[in-house]
Amino acid sequence: MAAKTAVEGIEVSIGISEAVGLADADVIAAYPITPQTHIVEHLAEMVAEGELDAEFIPVESEHSAMSACLGSSAAGARTFTATAGQGLELMHEVLYVASSMQLPIVMAVANRALSSPLSVWGDHSDMMSVRDTGWIQIVVENGQEAVDNIICSFRIAEDKRVLLPVMMHVDGFYLTHVIEPIALPDRELVKKFLPPNRFPLPLNPDHPVTMGDFAPPVVYTEAKWAQEVNLRNSQKIIEEVWGEFHKVFGRKYSPVEKYRTDNARVLLFTMGSFSETAMEAVDKMQGEGRDIGLVRLRLWRPFPFAEFREAVKDADVLIVLDRAISFGGPGGAVCSEIKAALYDEPRKPKIVSIIGGLGGRDITVAGFEEIIERGIQVAATGSKNEYEIYGVRE
């Protein structure tokens, strides 16, 4: 049943733009920032060449990019934008509005480190800084996943049971600027998979609505609670959409993905493009008879608690790699959430927080082996530090 399409060598950014084209987006509002530029350049080109019938709004800032997306999405148009690092930071306050007003915007984030010092290279500081904005956050590991998840993101966002904006995180440079083998889904199948956007209460003179009122204390808590319940409930629809995608296109996605975890006493935990390098390290170490496995998180928000607990329940050691520092805090944001998620479990692994891969610094297969060895050591002996930082010169 799954459709086969030709696999080509495509730059991941171009693949993302083509996926937005396959989704037949109506409005794209974007401001250029490295390493997101290839995505929006190619979209502008597609619009200029008539390959995509859309309005491309070349806004004067990311704040206005997301603001234009609010207007466009509220009017009922299928809306896309892309950004990275500082751009995501400049959008920050607008992100909350997008999710709170239930506007189904889709955004690709080419993960980038935050200034200062200025760094155009990748880490997850930008992604972590927006984790409380109420968006659905999906993390991809390679080009094919990026293409597939753009299409899934529109369907998830626009589902009437969800109506939430979706951020798809794709590591800057490590993914955005590399050419990978990608099968672009068939246009007709995408059309069937992704029904037209029917936003239930758009800005329409035939049915006037008031959107974005202010709320006195008597209703604010209820508004926020409704938003929270909605975001948590979105997980089953996200899984439903991924399931449907699997049926039509043959590729499967899950909130938590396991790699060779059967009987593994030690688990490494990663997110994003580094997971593929980590897999190689796991292969190598398993080849050497070590009981090491890998757990990767695809769905960062809403956090898939049940699936995560299930994935790590038999492990003795869990080594969590964060690619961002929470300054002055407990270490990596991902690891502290994981510790919280397991705190009440009767049986839980020893958890070791490792931070690395900041500002574009690579972690090689050997690097992951080193991280795993260090993690095992810390788990056995304990450490006076809240977390370990990998590969730093002091």
Binding site: L70, S73, L203, H207
Partner: protein, 326 residues
């Protein structure tokens, strides 16, 4: 004048798109201005409102004063949101047919326009979106408690530019926002004032009619912030024009037109003395303001008289060519 009650209803719709029952202060000139402007909005209008007085007084959950589709998101982004709404309708009507003919109107205060929203506004004007931007200027951040903005007039005492032993209050001259808008070479820019309702409403209609961006700077009296009596909104509006402080003019495709040329200026003090925010000013201060007001007025008048717009110049050269004997 008495006949107004007979023929005004023929000129103006009785329908209020901005309905009564909102929470504006007593004597609010801005609510009056919004109500008038909204009378000129056709039924296919979508309103995009910045954070500020008009947003707060009109939209407390679960109430709304708006009979038109209305959206508020943030403070500084109303022009950007409007550009998204306009682009969405353009794309959707092109791709899926249907009646894509909507009018998009942005509403913001002077802070949301001349300060925090200036970049988004400049971007939207430059990109040429088909929308009307209305700046309701009450000359300070009134919603947050009368803090100065760049549109606060020289010498006004506000909570962040208080007059004191070492300060006159606001030490800068009011930012010339209509000129900044006009510098974007957009098809229509105007100043308006609800004390001149027909002129104002006609301008709103014109702004909605032109293809491309239009900007109208609307004078809005704030008795609360200006420390004046609550029955003065209309009178102060008249005085602002008659003293030359707020000239009523239009810039249509680059061509300036003075809508009401003042033959004999009233002294600025007639205007200033009614407002507590200016009560600390000395005679010398007032004299200085008087001179500057005249200078600024002359600049606009000069532009209206010596119009250098391409259209006018072309007409001029055609006339002079006709005079040359064959």
């Amino acid at each position: 004048m008495e006949n107004y009650s007979v023929y005004v209803p023929r000129l103006l719709t009785k329908k209020n798109n901005f309905a009564p029952g909102h929470r504006a202060c007593i004597g609010c000139g801005e609510a009056l201005a919004v109500r008038m402007a909204a009378k000129a909005f056709p039924s296919n209008t979508i309103v995009v409102n910045a954070t500020g007085c008009m947003e707060i007084v009109a939209s407390q959950l679960p109430y709304s004063s708006w009979c038109l589709p209305w959206i508020h998101t943030l403070f500084e982004n109303t022009a950007a949101v409007a550009s998204g709404v306009e682009s969405a309708y353009k794309a959707m009507s092109r791709k899926r047919g249907g009646d894509g003919n909507v009018k998009v109107v942005s509403i913001a205060g002077d802070g949301g326009t001349t300060d925090i929203g200036l970049q988004a506004l400049s971007g939207a004007l430059e990109r040429g979106h088909d929308f009307l931007y209305l700046c309701f200027d009450n000359e300070a951040y009134m919603n947050t408690g009368i803090q100065r903005s760049s549109a606060t007039p020289y010498g006004a005492s506000t909570t962040t530019s208080p007059a004191g032993k070492k300060s006159i209050g606001q030490v800068t001259w009011k930012k010339n926002m209509p000129e900044i808008a006009a510098a974007h070479d957009i098809p229509y820019v105007a100043t308006a004032n609800p004390s001149y309702p027909f002129d104002f409403i006609e301008k709103v209609k014109k702004g909605l009619k032109v293809k491309g961006p239009a900007y109208i700077h609307v004078y809005s009296v704030c008795p609360t912030g200006w420390r004046c009596a609550t029955d003065l909104a209309v009178r102060l509006g008249k005085l602002a024009v008659e003293t030359g402080i707020f000239p009523l003019y239009e810039v249509e495709n680059g061509k300036y037109k003075m809508n009401l040329e003042i033959e004999k200026f009233r002294p600025v003090n007639d205007y200033l003395k009614l407002q507590g925010r200016f009560r600390h000013l000395s005679e010398d201060d007032i004299k200085w303001i008087q001179n500057r007001v005249k200078e600024e007025y002359a600049k606009v008048l000069e532009k209206a008289k010596n119009d250098r717009s391409p259209k006018r110049l072309a007409a001029k050269s055609k006339r002079s060519a006709e005079k040359i004997p064959a």
